[in-house]
């Protein structure tokens, strides 16, 4: 009985201590499956632009951080349910998400693009290089028409609960057959296998995959920004957590001024994606 009591006591004590250890640390949720934003190395350690940036921001805030891994499709619910205190997971600031959570100012921005396998009929579409959907100009509208015609009846694959899915669901490119996946890795796999006629994601996600897998994945059509694609990527924070929001905004300001964000961005993206 004594041993039993001792065990119970030590378990409770350790729970108490662990609880306290995490109490004054900022817990940041990330996906760990969206390179180069965030991913994992062979050893299973979280790496990427946002992981490095998170530690940098925490240094400016002056608090310790723990990075928590969370599946993408449960990211916002997990934040609301206090599994962690902030999201840094390549999450674009969109009006839809802002209904549920707040965002810090953007720290990086990066365009989205369609990708196809080399030799696809969708390769080399006759469009401009990039379009902004916030206030689409004549060229952008023409491109959307070209895309609508090209994508009619085609299967376009996206990761679930992303701006890319929102864009395809919005009907801006007509009725396409949208297929959603839990992770970007799975989107890439099915693009390569030929189950998807095209895929839509951050342009760097495809170039990263093409480089690492050696698969002939090529970008096609214009790059997208604005509108359904949101206004840059920011730190997601619970609406009632205004204190933390202020801290992150100040830290981002400092990190930007000191050139930290653009340095880390250049390291991971190969170009300066900071904002």
């Amino acid at each position: 009985m004594k041993i039993f009591k001792k065990t119970i006591f030590s378990v409770l004590l350790s729970l108490f201590v662990m609880g306290n250890v995490y109490a004054d640390k900022i817990r940041i949720g990330t996906e760990g499956a969206y390179p180069p934003w965030n991913s994992k190395n062979e050893a299973g350690k979280l790496i990427g632009f946002e992981v490095e940036l998170a530690y940098t921001l925490c240094r400016y805030i002056g608090q310790q951080c723990v990075i928590v891994e969370q599946d993408w499709d449960g990211m916002i619910p997990a934040l609301i349910m206090r599994k962690f205190d902030a999201i840094m997971a390549g999450m674009s600031i969109t009006a839809e998400r802002q209904k549920a959570i707040s965002f810090s100012q953007g720290y990086a921005d990066e365009v989205a693009s369609l990708a196809v396998m080399k030799g696809s009929s969708l390769e080399g579409l006759d469009t401009s290089a990039g379009i902004n959907l916030t206030k689409p100009n004549a060229a952008a509208k023409k491109d959307l028409k070209t895309l609508t015609a090209a994508l009619a009846g085609k299967t376009v694959c996206v990761q679930t609960a992303t701006i890319h899915q929102n864009f395809l669901d919005s009907g801006d490119v007509g009725k396409v057959n949208v297929r959603t996946y839990k992770t970007q890795d799975e989107v890439n796999l099915d693009l390569a296998s030929g189950r998807c006629d095209a895929a839509l994601a951050a342009a760097v996600a495809f170039s990263d995959y093409a480089e690492k897998s050696g698969k002939p994945v090529v970008l096609t059509g214009p790059t997208f920004s604005g509108g359904a694609f949101g206004n840059g990527v920011g730190v997601g924070i619970r609406k009632d957590d205004t204190e933390l929001l202020k801290k992150f905004n100040a830290a981002i300001n400092k990190a930007r001024k000191n050139g930290d964000i653009s340095r880390i961005a250049t390291k991971w993206f190969g170009f300066d994606a900071s904002m």
Partner: protein
């Protein structure tokens, strides 16, 4: 609790439940034939045939359904040679990949359920048939199979319910079944509890129907 969301998502989830039922019924029908076939192989005295059937049920009962779906969907999709064959017409579709995985999985369990049911038939029953001059074939079709099916009803009812819940894994290969649509709604509303409660309620209702149907059959064919 967002009651409005629960009410609004109900019709969407209900129509997704139709897909779930379609996946369930198609894979159960195919699985039943597979199961019966392998159960008969299991009763064969030939050691090769017997162990082949045992190997099949061992592999499919010994690995998670999720792993089986992933191997069939993502795994087979990686084999370049396969993509150039006619098989790809079927394997290209997530729907058929899910059906294949579900049917093979439930087939393995069904074969075990039926095998044990065949083995519970008392030798006296078969001997009685023989003494009446009935041929072995007729004994098998008219006596052994009906008794085996009746004997396996309770266990098979469980298998149907397990399989019904198993179909939720179809959402992992992009199918918009009940779970898939629930996840989709959550991805735009960020309210998992409300939506999963409604989805769970629909699953529970389907279980209720299946359970009572099996119970009815058990009473109807009581002996």
């Amino acid at each position: 609790m967002d009651l409005e969301l629960m009410i609004n998502s109900f019709p969407k989830l209900l129509s997704a439940a139709v897909i779930t039922l379609k996946l369930l019924s198609v894979s159960l029908i195919i699985g039943l034939f597979i199961g019966l076939f392998f159960a008969i192989l299991r009763l064969n005295k030939n050691i090769f045939i017997n162990s082949f059937a045992y190997g099949y049920s061992y592999v499919f009962r010994g690995t998670p359904l999720l792993v089986q779906i992933f191997i069939i969907y993502f795994g087979l999709g990686q084999i370049e040679y396969l993509r150039s064959t006619v098989l790809w017409i079927i394997l290209k579709e997530p729907y058929w990949c899910a059906i294949i995985a579900f049917a093979l999985n439930t087939g393995a369990y069904t074969s075990e359920i039926l095998r044990s049911a065949f083995q519970t038939i008392k030798p006296g029953t078969i001997e009685a048939g023989k003494s009446l001059g009935i041929s072995n074939k007729v004994i098998f079709y008219k006596i052994q199979i009906p008794i085996a099916i009746r004997q396996s009803l309770p266990a098979y009812g469980n298998e149907i319910i397990l399989m019904m819940k198993g179909t939720s894994l179809a959402s992992t290969v992009t199918l918009m079944d009940l779970t898939g649509v629930a996840k989709y709604i959550i991805s735009t509303t960020f309210k998992p509890i409300e939506v999963f409660i409604v989805a769970g309620g629909i699953y529970l209702f389907m279980t209720f129907i299946i359970h009572n149907f099996i119970k009815f059959l058990e009473k109807r064919y009581y002996f």
